[in-house]
Symmetry: C2
Subunit: 390 residues, 2 copies
């Protein structure tokens, strides 16, 4: 059964990517090779953009850079069968900007392809991860808080179903049993690095993260950071034997932490991330001390130029906050030539992030009134509460 | 964590008892030692009978022979705190007489102590046991059929809650997560003999069988065959850390198979058991060919006498079907002296079993109209559907 070896967990390597850990400086080409996914090449990207009828800078700039079966998703779209979207959130604390970007991209996908979206809040998993020390009350609270942030993104309330595992478990349990019966301990040990000391809740949990990729008898497309891919590998191995499609996936890179180009943003280092509820003063302060690609003095910077490759402010603008390609190109060149100072780059990012958060936080307030639609009363939610998945 | 060693699974031994296997001729004294339970001594039995206000032949004859903390259950009863009862059924097929006897005893306990009873139908477990080859539709069907047999026993519909795991999972899942977080793979491997090839559903499942022993903040008393004890050992190790009581248990021996005094009755050998839906002709036929303690010819039997210790017909009468101690004593003596022939013993058992099944089957018909009370509408059931166990 151990067909994946332990390719996702090479502790002897320069970087580690698992659903629970990202360490070191990630080499995305190597990661694609390790995980056995495919780079989105120019031809596939053009086909994707053509089908969508519109471009998106997260695609154009290869932030979403890797995939599984995206070509088959486009086949299904073109022949009228369509597809559905699935993504999720582990409600272990407040969400930061790195968490929300995939949801903005998911919304774009929904708008362009009119697809249903299922969003799983894994309150069970975050409780079961002992090292987090969270109670179920904590993960319930964060499920609510995170749901408001997700709703603020503006997904279609009649085509989106947001659910917590502890609340939706009855509807998922029969098919979760069918999934679980096909997965043995050896397999989850190889894929996730579980040991004999892992608790039996964590060992069972992968079944529940796989289930939503079987919610419809269509192909599922999962837009998520690449660290979640191990779950989809298992889904792809068992889906057809259960009468469903192998899921497709489109994988994003990690938004670099403010502290520099190593690892990913982490709740244990609040200075590494901008949280969606950070106020303007905090945003300013965090970005101001962020890792920079500039020189030690203005004189040297003017003379030698900065390095945009490691400058977090520039990288954030390129990753998400400056959609205009011409502007990004000019910023990069000017920074490299020393025409733009690190402080100027940071000031620009602060403006963009502040404006983004202001709008997000306003929509988050409105989300409180809309929540019932996404969870219970919208068209898709109503359908989903009637379904027992078998 | 491995405090129990592999005491419940000594493959090198003359007999094996686990929740899934009973092999060989069980030495109950040795089993009590292996499992670390206690024999119910005369003093405890007298105290139990005094509290109950009435004797029961299953106690008197030490069919229920072993216990954990039964003395504490009686303390709780005497000081007015009370206790609750929990037992269950794995719905993998039709129930036989060996399955139903503990339910009759449980009913007696309820009548005497006015205690709530929770009855778990483990439709998930029976699906997850791959070797059975059952579908979820099968275990759902058997849950319904078995529930009718259980209701036929005559439990109090306002103090009894019968539930299937797949149906009641949402109410149990939060506390199941808390239980699961306290149990690691090493532990379930040691207690149940799971391996790296065990599926992740089976590995998680023990959490769900432990949960009902935490349904009330009182002591739980579990009347069940002794093979289920490994679950209760784990419950006892974690209950207090979750703010609950260690469960108590009262363990029965196995009704010997018709095929002789080795192992237990098994669905894979239908001739080894009398099923609750067997008709009179089948009962007669099965008992007629049952393993006997008699001699090869009538002449030899009259001369040498029979051996009641291995005579299944006599053992069944003693186990359950002849509650009158004087009659049992006389049957035993007369058989030993050759005054009663094996055929006469069998005829007596056939009469008793036939009368028992006739009454049971009639009550089972009535059960169809009562089912909603035990599952949804009785006083206890209504309360239970409102509770999320945390």
């Amino acid at each position: 059964m151990n067909i994946f070896g332990s390719q996702n967990r090479r502790e002897d390597s320069d970087f580690i990517v698992t659903p629970w850990t990202v360490e070191g400086e990630v080499d995305y080409n190597k990661l694609v090779e390790r995980f056995g996914t495919s780079i989105i090449d120019d031809k596939l990207m053009e086909r994707f953009v053509r089908a969508a009828g519109e471009d998106h800078h997260l695609l154009r700039r290869r932030i979403f850079f890797s995939h599984r079966d995206l070509d088959k998703v486009l086949d299904d779209w073109e022949n009228g069968r369509g597809f559905f979207l699935y993504t999720g959130r582990g409600p272990s604390g407040p969400m930061h900007i790195g968490h929300i970007i995939p949801f903005y991209f998911t919304k774009w996908l929904q708008d362009r392809f009119k697809a249903n979206i299922y969003i799983q809040l894994t309150d069970d998993e975050k409780f079961l991860e002992e090292s987090r020390g969270l109670t179920l009350e904590d993960t319930l609270k964060w499920s609510y808080e995170n749901t408001l942030d997700i709703i603020a993104v503006g997904l279609d309330p009649d085509k989106t179903f947001i659910f917590q595992n502890t609340e939706y478990i009855k509807n998922m349990y029969p098919i979760a049993l069918k999934v679980a019966r096909k997965i043995n301990f050896s397999w989850v040990r190889a894929v996730f690095g579980f040991t004999h000391e892992s608790n039996i809740g964590m060992i069972f949990y992968p079944a529940l993260q796989i289930v939503p990729a079987l919610f419809e008898k269509k192909r599922c497309l999962i837009p998520a950071a690449i660290d979640q891919d191990p779950y989809w590998r298992i889904q792809r191995d068992i889906a057809e034997s259960l009468g469903y499609y192998k899921t497709a996936a489109i994988h994003s890179k990690f938004l670099p932490p403010l502290t520099g180009p190593v690892g990913k943003m982490s709740a244990s280092r609040p200075e590494s991330a901008i949280y969606l509820n950070d106020d303007e003063k905090t945003v300013r302060k965090k970005i101001w001390v962020a890792y920079s690609g500039g020189q030690p003095t203005v004189e040297l910077h003017r003379k030698l130029g900065g390095n945009p490759e490691v400058d977090v402010a520039f990288q954030w603008l390129k990753f998400f906050f400056e959609p205009d390609d011409n502007k990004i190109k000019k910023l990069e060149e000017d920074y490299r030539m020393g025409k733009i100072l690190s402080g100027e780059m940071k000031t620009l990012l602060i403006e963009k992030v502040t404006a983004f958060l202001e709008e997000h936080q306003a929509k988050r307030e409105e989300a409180k009134e809309l929540l019932h639609l996404y969870k219970y009363d919208g068209e898709l939610a109503r359908e989903m509460w009637k379904k027992i998945h078998v």
